[in-house]
């Protein structure tokens, strides 16, 4: 099987094509997101890439008011807070991502457990352009 290496670099190149890809262990069937080159469940290293649906639910979130420099460069900060989330996918694994399409000014309206779907955000110009995984409410 001609599999791309199970690295963040490959994961990122899939994201750039708007695909959310995970690694699956051929030996025990465990699904890993983020992808890994070694299965932590059975120590197997026979893996394959598999696309996940991108639908899941909100496990935890926060609204960031004091932003790190990378997010300040993306236009966020005290005057424009943003929401980040831990999302559990329907297939099982969890992932960290920005949460879009919710009201950062009224976090009471954001409900743990709410159904979400994956979306993709482009940031930066030219060589510096990069695709980021994000989620938004499913409906």
């Amino acid at each position: 099987m001609n599999q791309q290496p199970f690295t963040e670099s490959t994961f990122q190149s899939y994201l750039a094509r708007h695909k959310l890809m995970a690694s699956r262990c051929s030996a025990c069937g465990a699904l890993h997101l983020p992808p890994r080159p070694l299965c932590p469940d059975c120590f197997g290293d026979d893996l394959h890439w598999t696309e996940v649906s991108g639908s899941g639910k909100l496990l935890a979130f926060t609204v960031i008011h004091i932003a790190p420099t990378a997010m300040i460069e993306a236009g966020y900060g005290r005057d424009k807070p943003y929401v980040v989330a831990v999302v559990v996918l329907d297939e099982g694994p969890g992932i960290s991502a920005q949460l879009l399409g919710v009201d950062a000014a009224n976090p009471q309206t954001i409900a743990v457990g709410m159904p979400l779907r994956a979306t993709f955000v482009e940031r930066g110009e030219g060589e510096g352009q990069r695709t980021f995984l994000a989620f938004q409410p499913a409906d």
Binding site: P34, T62, V63, I64, A67, I72, Y76, V86, V87
Partner: protein, 421 residues
Amino acid sequence: MAIQPKLGRSVALVGAGMSKFGAFPEKASRDLFVEAFQEMRASVSRGLDPRDIEALYIGNYSSDLFEGQGHMAPLMADWVGLTPRPAIRVEDACASSGVALRQGIIAIASGLYDVVLVGGIEKMSNLSTEKVTDALSTASDILYEIPAGFTFPGFYAAMATAYMDRFSATPEAFMQVGMKNHDNGALNPKAQFSASIADVMEGKQRRAQARGLPIPQWTDEMDFLHDNRANPMIAWPLRLFDCSPISDGAAALLLVGGELADNFCTDPVYIIGSGQASDRSMHDREELTSIGAAVLASQQAYQMAGVSPADVKVAEVHDCFTIAEIIATEDLGFFEPGEGFVAAEEGLTTRNGLRPVNTSGGLKAKGHPVGASGAAQVVEIWKQMQGLAGERQLAADVEIALTHNVGGTGQTCVVHIFERR
């Protein structure tokens, strides 16, 4: 995995000291370490000849990023006159010096050394808040967590939203933790914030008056803590007064083989339990209302010590954020899951409560120079057990005490149990 961990030799704490915590632009980390070392030395009641120290284990998270200084351990050894003894830097994020303590214990228990210096050091205030935020972020997963926009307050805030959802807690419980820790810090001369929330309010009013500005009015501490100007949001639901500060500081502990303790000290403290565990990134955990590594580390420590949570008379826990203290009191078995916030609201963790927690002021008020925090927790236990805690001294005798030190969002946790015989 079923092996019951035991120390091959008893280990005693016979001295402990710390620098003042705060922001000290005029001091480098080595100066703070000397301050801690000198207080430790003075605390050894039968005297310490520093030449008896055989090795140093120094907890330090990231002097490389904070000060542009790597290779800290031999430098610290030099500054306290201990060259050419082996000096080992231990890095496990904010648990660095808790883990350094464990390494010191292991070195003595193995029989390799009889006398070991455990240190902790961090000097963070040289950098802007944004740069500190970036430096702390390197303790999480830089490939999969940081690109999402997470910050450290953000991680703990996410635990807080999960906790609030599961147990119907409100941010007011977190505010109670902050108020309690500021009350304790106000009685600790080493604390970065030697001020209760009421003192902070009065200070703001006095400064406004002095500048001829309108004097802000709050009905009580809770009203102040709900004021977006006085207590701005950092990462919802955590506000400024839910977060530990950016701090400089150092701590130093002297460990010896248990059979040697009486040579150094009239009233030694024995370390009877030690546990440590690791965990994955937050998004790889089943649930976020508990820190799994803390549960495991405390179970190991209780088992080794042969004591139960009910025996612990005082605990210093890792309250990098107020929610973290609530979760810690559950993970350590002091309260059932979902009851930690109720205990905080009912005052059970105050100095006069059933289960005093963070009598030092905790990371919140004492300060959180990250690599020094784990060792500084032990300094408070030492002082409480020696009856040297001044105005914050607990009324009851402290026979059994515990420290709980977390690295990152719980990828590392180390727990120690202390006994005064």
